[in-house]
Amino acid sequence: MRIGVVTFPGSLDDTDAARAVRHAGAEPVPLWHADRDLRGVDAVILPGGFSYGDYLRCGAIARFSPVMAELVPAARAGLPVLGICNGFQILCEAHLLPGALTRNAGLRFITRDVRLAVANTDTAWTSHYAPGQQLLVPLKSGEGAYAADPATLDELDRAGRVVVRYANAPNGSARGIAGVCNEAGNVVGLMPHPEHAIDPLTGPSGDGLGFFTSVVRAFAGADG
């Protein structure tokens, strides 16, 4: 399986996402923001960072980059897409996911290992987890508070589209939401960083690897 990792100017966790892809047994394929080309990949990761410096609003400029012009229709057609942190912000700005990410309660950048519960195991990126499974994954963001209008939040709850929830949201996220998916479950965005939790040597746990093995296993199953 070939999984694309997009590098925008200011992407920071692209090498980490590529490493996680390798650990999950797939081939990472670098994708460049300025190319209208997905290079035939089987899934795409939008990594963390500060795309275009995030000087306007997180993800607001990246959304208009040439690679997104290819990615948005592909995602609507079912291509598995995972947005991590800044990638989540970009997916919201691109309207592939509902809601928005706003300044943390407390207004400071927060780096913390957070406990998450997997709320939906039917997505392309969480099928390898058990329902309710607890994960310990780093959160590191300044604008990570998930926000949406009450009707949207109700709908996300009703349809089971909350993918991961904080045990204790440190950033003021609405209803403790750490990550959500689109209706089809192929597009997932979350603020915590599963790619930083693939090995207890360099992260708080190996709990995050499941996001990547989920998509790899599903692909292997579909392929074979």
């Binding site: 100017p9 966790d13 500060f50 995030d54 950048f109 780096t111 590191k140 790619e195």
Partner: protein, 750 residues
């Protein structure tokens, strides 16, 4: 200064008054410039010499002392490049080299804390980048006035937000550092930033302009009026405190753009990989003036620069201002003419503006033209080398009485409850308290190779995912020790950084330093500087590791009052297998707790004397570099054999603080019995000590290792339970300790 002050005009008007004093030059220095040129300098030349001959760029007061730090044969064996290059380069084996350096941004951070600290990170990162290395991590050593002081509440949050903003957005993990408080830093905080980079041996780059006809390319941000004269004005002036002087100097502080820096890093690394450059120099203090003179002075020939071609943010800048501007996120490269199109192509890919502004010549002269006239024509080495001063030195007049005022007579805790109260007071003091409030604002995970970060004794990074080769880093300094005895104090800072690196299981390999002192025009300060450098040189020779470079920051004083002499020492270690790393916290129940090293009654400059009695006097603890070396070898050996479950060095606050931290970080108690006088056992700050826990079942093996290495080992007790229990003294529940430890910084700074 006139815009049109060309060489021709200068030659024709030898007696025109020039503002050399305002630019920080002495009458003698001004006369020397006229002597070199055989005429008065143009306005642009005067600006160039003033920044190049500033204390910050020329090291004119410290150079005669820094010579002591040249590596001897044993020390030189680990080096690829030594002092004098942008940063020293250390061979760590397997074809990898590491470059690391620590630099001060003290004065800008006092004037404008957020931007001052942010651009401090940016500057040191470009320094490492210019060596050909990929920057992989940063650390910060920070010192402020009293934690509860009004101005600390202005400076400290700004410094943290600046480091957090710049470092996080740049994508470099912040893996540790220091945070300390003392009244001597109230009007002059210390903001020292360290960066470390990794490269293959063949990737080493040089700051030289060779090959006549090669092009000089300026790339990165545009040049603006920010930071004009920062090196000469800010870093040479003393601050008047709250009298408004600081505000008047605000324009001298630069403004940082970490996004541009990230693009510049990736752009440079791609230029290196494609083999498109002949020489490279970062732009920091003294901007284009420094980059052009150093490149030209490092090469064989000369250089011709057309200042009209420098892209400007403000078209009204004069040549002098263009030369002195310290606009951030700029680099200068020397490029072969046939590679210029490819060079510009890589820059365009990364949206980095790049402009050919000149070329290398064979005439040995640095020439700059502007609007058709020649505004600079100098021999570049005369600006790059700068004057050298043998400043007068004098042992501080109060040192004898200070050393005679030993803390021996101070009231000591006499029973268990009093010992516990002392521990809680120290643990909750701003210096010893948990620093999570700070480090929670830094990204330590980015790039995915951080094995250990704050609050561990040293930061540890994986260098190679296949071989598990890694590097460890720590910085340490102690102004109070150095005030009492700069020679000893510097060796203690070196010892502590060395010990911190050793506690991860790494083998210390190299040293960098940032020497923060008062005014060099004060003979007592110069004596402190000389003693500190002598201590560092002797200490490094005894440890067998080289100093690979460093930075000197002088004029750190408020009015006539200098800060404590504060050399901050960074030590780099090599870890053969990062999977064998040790952490400070007790990791398992039922593990034997052992104190390594010898404890003497040493309280001069101690945390106890400072926190409980606000006392500073006597002599600091005696350094024992031989003991440091054997302790480090023992821990490295035991770590690679898997004999140890945890290791934590003893420093300020002694065994009491070390045990409390080991319990809190491991979320696991311990029960210990102290040898001898409990107060001395708990709070003495004797050097070359550590508290470790042994992997259960390997106790005899470890005891044999200690005996073989000649390291004194005292079995104290066992890990386990949820209290810190000191037999015959006190037993305290960990939650109570944790409240004292974790509550302080949030209560002070929200």
């Amino acid at each position: 200064m006139s815009d049109k002050d060309t060489v021709q005009v200068a030659t024709a008007s030898p007696d025109q008054p020039q503002p050399f004093a305002e630019l920080g030059l002495t009458p003698a220095e001004y006369a020397k410039i006229k002597d070199i040129l055989g005429r008065r300098p143009t306005a642009a030349e005067l600006a160039l010499y003033s920044v190049m001959w500033s204390e910050h760029c020329s090291y004119k007061s410290s150079k005669v002392h820094l010579k002591r730090l040249a590596p001897n044969e044993e020390q030189a064996r680990k080096l690829l490049a030594g002092i004098g290059a942008n940063a020293g380069v250390v061979d760590i084996g397997q074809g990898y080299a590491v470059t690391f350096k620590i630099e001060s941004h003290n004065h800008p951070s006092f004037v404008e804390p957020h931007q001052g600290a942010a651009t401090g990170v940016g500057g040191i990162v470009r320094d490492i980048l210019a060596m050909g290395a990929r920057p992989v991590a940063v650390m910060d050593a920070l010192r402020f006035g009293p934690a509860e002081a009004h101005d600390t509440a202005r400076v400290l949050p700004g410094v943290f937000s600046g480091i957090s903003f710049y470092g996080n957005c740049l994508g470099l993990p912040n893996i540790g550092g220091e945070l300390a408080f003392d009244p001597c830093y109230a009007g002059n905080p210390l903001v020292n930033a360290l960066c470390v980079g990794i490269m293959r041996h063949a990737d080493l780059k040089a700051a030289v302009a060779n090959g006549p006809g090669n092009k000089v390319v300026l790339f990165g941000s545009r040049t603006g009026p920010d930071g004009v004269g920062g090196a000469s004005v800010l870093a040479s002036a003393t601050f008047g405190g709250g009298d408004g002087k600081a505000r008047a100097k605000r324009p001298s502080v630069q403004v940082g753009d970490p996004f541009m820096e990230k693009l510049l890093v990736e752009c440079c690394l791609e230029l290196y990989a494609e083999g498109l450059i002949e020489g490279i120099q970062d732009l920091g203090a003294a901007g284009i003036a420094c980059a052009t003179t150093e490149l030209a002075a490092g090469g064989e020939g000369g250089m011709r620069v057309t200042l009209d071609d420098v892209p400007l943010r403000d078209p009204s800048l004069t040549p002098a201002e263009i030369l002195m501007s310290e606009s951030q996120e700029r680099m200068m490269a020397v490029v072969a003419p046939d590679r210029v199109p490819a060079f510009l192509g890589v820059c365009a890919k990364w949206d980095v503006e790049a402009t050919v502004i000149g070329e290398v010549t064979g005439d040995g002269t640095l020439t700059m033209t502007w609007r058709g006239g020649t505004v600079v024509s100098i021999p570049p080495r005369t600006a790059a080398d700068g004057p050298v001063y043998q400043r007068p030195m004098a042992r501080p007049a109060d040192l004898d009485s200070l050393q005679a005022t030993a803390p021996d007579g101070l009231d000591r805790p006499k029973d268990g409850p009093a010992l516990l109260a002392t521990l809680l007071a120290l643990l909750g003091s701003a210096d010893e308290a948990d620093k999570s409030w700070v480090t929670a604002q830094y990204d330590r995970y980015v790039r995915g190779n951080t094995v250990l970060a704050m609050p561990e004794d040293g930061g540890l990074l994986r260098v190679d995912e296949q071989t598990q080769l890694g590097i460890a880093l720590a910085t340490d300094g102690n102004g109070r020790y150095c005030r009492l005895d700069p020679y000893r104090g510097t060796q203690l800072a070196l010892s502590e950084a060395y010990r911190n690196v050793a506690m991860t299981g790494a083998t210390p390999a190299a040293v960098t330093n940032c020497l923060n002192f008062g005014s060099p025009e004060d003979p007592q300060v110069m004596w402190q500087l000389a003693e500190a450098v002598r201590g560092l040189a002797d200490g490094c020779a005894a440890l067998g590791i080289p100093v690979t470079g460093g930075n000197v920051s002088l004029y750190n004083q408020t009015g006539d009052a200098a800060i404590h002499p504060t050399p901050v020492i960074g030590v780099l270690g090599v870890h053969d297998d990062v999977r064998r790393r040790l952490a400070a916290g007790f990791a398992t129940d039922g593990a034997q707790v052992v104190l390594l090293g010898a404890t003497r009654e040493e309280f001069g400059g101690s945390a106890w004397a400072h926190v409980v009695h606000q006392h500073l006097g006597g002599r600091p603890p005696a350094p024992d570099l031989h003991a440091e070396r054997t302790l480090a070898t023992l821990v490295a050996t035991a770590a690679s054999d898997g004999v140890l479950a945890s290791a934590h060095d003893l420093s300020t606050g002694g065994l009491a603080i070390a045990l409390a931290e080991a319990c809190l970080r491991g979320a696991r108690g311990c029960r210990v019995t102290l040898p001898g006088d409990p107060f001395t056992a708990l709070f003495s700050e004797s050097a070359a000590r550590a508290v470790i826990s042994v992997t259960p079942g390997r106790e005899d093996e470890f005891a044999a290792l200690c005996a073989a290495h000649g390291v004194p080992a005292t079995v104290l007790g066992q890990t386990g339970g949820d209290t810190l229990a000191i037999e015959a003294s006190f037993e305290v529940p960990l939650p109570e300790l944790r409240r004292a430890w974790e509550g302080t910084l949030p209560a002070l700074f929200g």
